[in-house]
């Protein structure tokens, strides 16, 4: 198992100019730290072997528990409802339904409300599509996509955290039981207050900086904890981080990832950190498979 924090700003897919994406970028130079970070992550991931990518996405929001894609294949056009000027992407994804069902079953055992999504016309969210593309652009691996239950919003950050740790645990058990070699992607930003305006050229680097110093400080602090292997402390501080830095971790992805990895005392490799419309984003990798080899 290998785990990554793999944020999904569609801007990064746009700036990469893949043939799948209809809008073409200007190349004006914004987001280079993150694009380089993803490049470095991809190189590192090339050294591992995987059967499946499991992604937890903030952009599939469900109030009735945690849902998983339960249809074997999806393809089509994904237009981002928020940034349609940047992301109109042809996608083609296979789903590891057997593993999804195993996670569903293990989640129920943990006491979570779980749901399988069986509608073949469902529009796969752009968080899933973008994170999978950025981490493994040429991948033909099947995926599992897990929705973001609204527990943090409907109850409290503490309730959300407990649910995500349980969902992570359920994911780990299902991966082990099915014998998969899994690449886990937590598809979220760190600090997450956006600017609400966009320059004429969205890629103009002049307009790209962190929303405020508070967000920058919190992000730096979280990155220090990651690099120090202090993942337990991240969880301890998560409810405060979420509130004070308006973090997208409120959608649960990072906590799910840490839970799935068993909250290891393992430093994460930060491949890159940068801002997108004022939000803080980090590309991080935890090489659990190497830790296992060394042990």
């Amino acid at each position: 198992m290998r785990g990554c924090l793999a944020p999904h700003p569609p801007h990064l897919a746009y700036a990469s100019n893949p043939p799948q994406n209809e809008p073409k970028s200007s190349g004006a130079g914004a987001w280079t730290e993150l694009l380089d970070g993803y490049k470095s992550l991809r190189k590192s991931l090339d050294q591992g072997e995987y059967d499946v990518i499991i992604v937890h996405t903030p952009h599939w929001k469900t109030h009735r528990g945690h849902h998983l894609l339960g249809v074997e294949h999806f393809e089509g056009l994904s237009v981002d409802p928020i940034f349609p000027n940047l992301f109109r992407f042809q996608f083609d994804l296979d789903v590891d339904v057997e593993l999804a069902e195993a996670i569903h079953a293990e989640g129920e055992k943990q006491g979570l409300v779980m749901g399988m999504m069986r509608n073949p016309e469902f529009r796969v969210d752009y968080g899933t599509i973008t994170s999978c593309y950025l981490a493994r652009p040429d991948s033909k691996l099947p995926i599992v996509s897990i929705s973001s239950a609204r527990s943090y919003f409907d109850y409290s950050n503490e309730v959300g955290e407990r649910e995500m740790l349980a969902l992570g645990e359920a994911t780990r058990i299902a991966v082990e039981k099915t014998g998969r070699r899994a690449l886990l992607l937590a598809s979220c930003s760190l600090s997450h207050r956006h600017f609400t305006e966009e320059p004429a050229d969205p890629e103009d680097p002049k307009f790209e900086y962190i929303y405020n110093a508070n967000q920058a400080k919190w992000d730096r602090h979280i990155l220090d904890l990651i690099e120090g292997g202090r993942n337990r402390q991240i969880l301890d501080e998560m409810p405060d981080f979420i509130e004070q830095a308006v973090s997208e971790c409120k959608d649960g992805s990072l906590t799910w990832l840490l839970g799935a990895m068993g909250v290891p005392e393992l430093p994460g490799k930060v491949h890159g950190y940068g801002t997108v419309i004022g939000t803080g984003n980090a590309v991080v990798e935890w090489r659990l498979d190497e830790q296992a080899v060394q042990a």
């Binding site: 599939w60 109030h63 237009v79 349609p84 016309e121 109850y155 956006h194 966009e198 929303y211």
Partner: protein
């Protein structure tokens, strides 16, 4: 009446409709959803009987970050599945938008300082709230429509300005428009799978607040409801701070002079789903109670974090 006055557009009335597609997709799974479906028909008949030539929707289900997006594809045709209620099936749609009005709305929003843009892209996922409302209220696309997004960060002042810009655009374009707020009242859902036949409002408290709001709306007191929205949202988990109400009240003239009709009030998965109509009726509402600030222009939010020097610079130039 002069030609100019004759040509000036006007807002004929407004409706508040639910944000979920259950009445369209599964009316017979629950008596409440069936009731809503039948009530949509009554609202549809009332709209058909008017001589409206434009429906303007503000939907809490279309979230935006970059300012305000306005749908401008003249004939959007695609499909959408509710991200939560995917088991209810797919909504295939073929709609008719007033692209010319969308551009006018964008211009009027810009004049008032808002960051606004039109969007017209094949495959754009029009939100389930808007699709359900349009399919139930305007099934044959007889009246062209316009949809505007709900910015996650905008608060009362910005949303009022967006509503006023809608009225500016209606007047300028000479349209006879009906405004539609697509929004739940209380928006607390059951967080598990329930038997739809047993659907009910999530809590007594939410239910009581919903009924209080509907009582005021029935009395035509839209502006009073707008000013009560913050408290309502705090107390009863209001949908998106009830921005749809702020927008409607601002677009319709910020007063209490309406004839209100509550067509229906039901639960959809615990949320408060109401169908309410408001027709201007001068003198109906009595005096106004202005407690909150009123804004006419929006000055952006980058200034919030600007240095004092930069802030002064901006002030000097305005």
């Amino acid at each position: 009446m002069s030609d100019a006055a004759k040509q000036e557009g006007q807002i004929l009335g407004g409706y508040l409709v639910p944000n979920k597609p259950h009445a369209l997709l599964a009316p017979d799974k629950s008596p409440g959803w069936r009731s809503l479906r039948d009530s949509y028909d009554k609202v549809r008949e009332q709209i058909e009987a008017s001589d409206a030539d434009l429906l303007i929707l503000f939907s809490t289900r279309w979230v935006s970050i970059i300012g305000h997006q306005i749908q401008a594809d003249p004939a959007p045709e695609y499909w959408v599945v509710d991200e939560d209620f995917h088991e209810l099936g797919t909504m295939h749609y073929k709609l008719r938008m007033d692209a010319e009005f969308a551009e006018t709305y964008r211009q009027c929003a810009s004049v008032r300082g808002l960051h606004a843009r039109t969007v017209a892209y094949h495959g754009f996922p029009i939100d389930v709230g808007s699709v359900a409302a349009l399919q139930l209220l305007n099934p044959d696309n007889r009246i062209p429509a316009c949809i505007v997004s709900c910015n996650v960060y905008s608060d009362r002042a910005e949303t009022l300005v967006l509503g006023k810009a809608a009225l500016d655009a209606v007047k300028k374009s000479g349209r006879k428009a009906i405004v539609v707020g697509v929004s739940a009242l209380s928006n607390r859902m059951f967080t598990e799978f329930i038997d739809p036949a047993e659907d009910h409002i999530h809590s007594l408290k939410d239910d009581e607040w919903n009924r209080k709001l509907l009582e005021l709306l029935e009395a035509g007191r839209l502006e009073d409801v707008s000013q009560l929205s913050r408290e309502f949202s705090r107390q009863a988990n209001g949908d998106s701070k009830l921005k749809a109400i702020w927008w409607m009240a601002a677009a319709m003239g910020q007063d209490n002079d309406y004839q209100g009709t509550v067509f229906d009030y039901q639960a959809v998965w615990g949320t408060g789903a109401a169908l309410v109509g408001l027709v201007p009726s001068p003198g109906a509402g009595g005096g106004l109670e202005y407690d909150e600030d009123d804004s006419n222009y929006f000055h952006g939010d980058r200034n919030v974090i600007a240095t004092a020097a930069n802030t002064n610079k901006v002030d000097d130039s305005s």
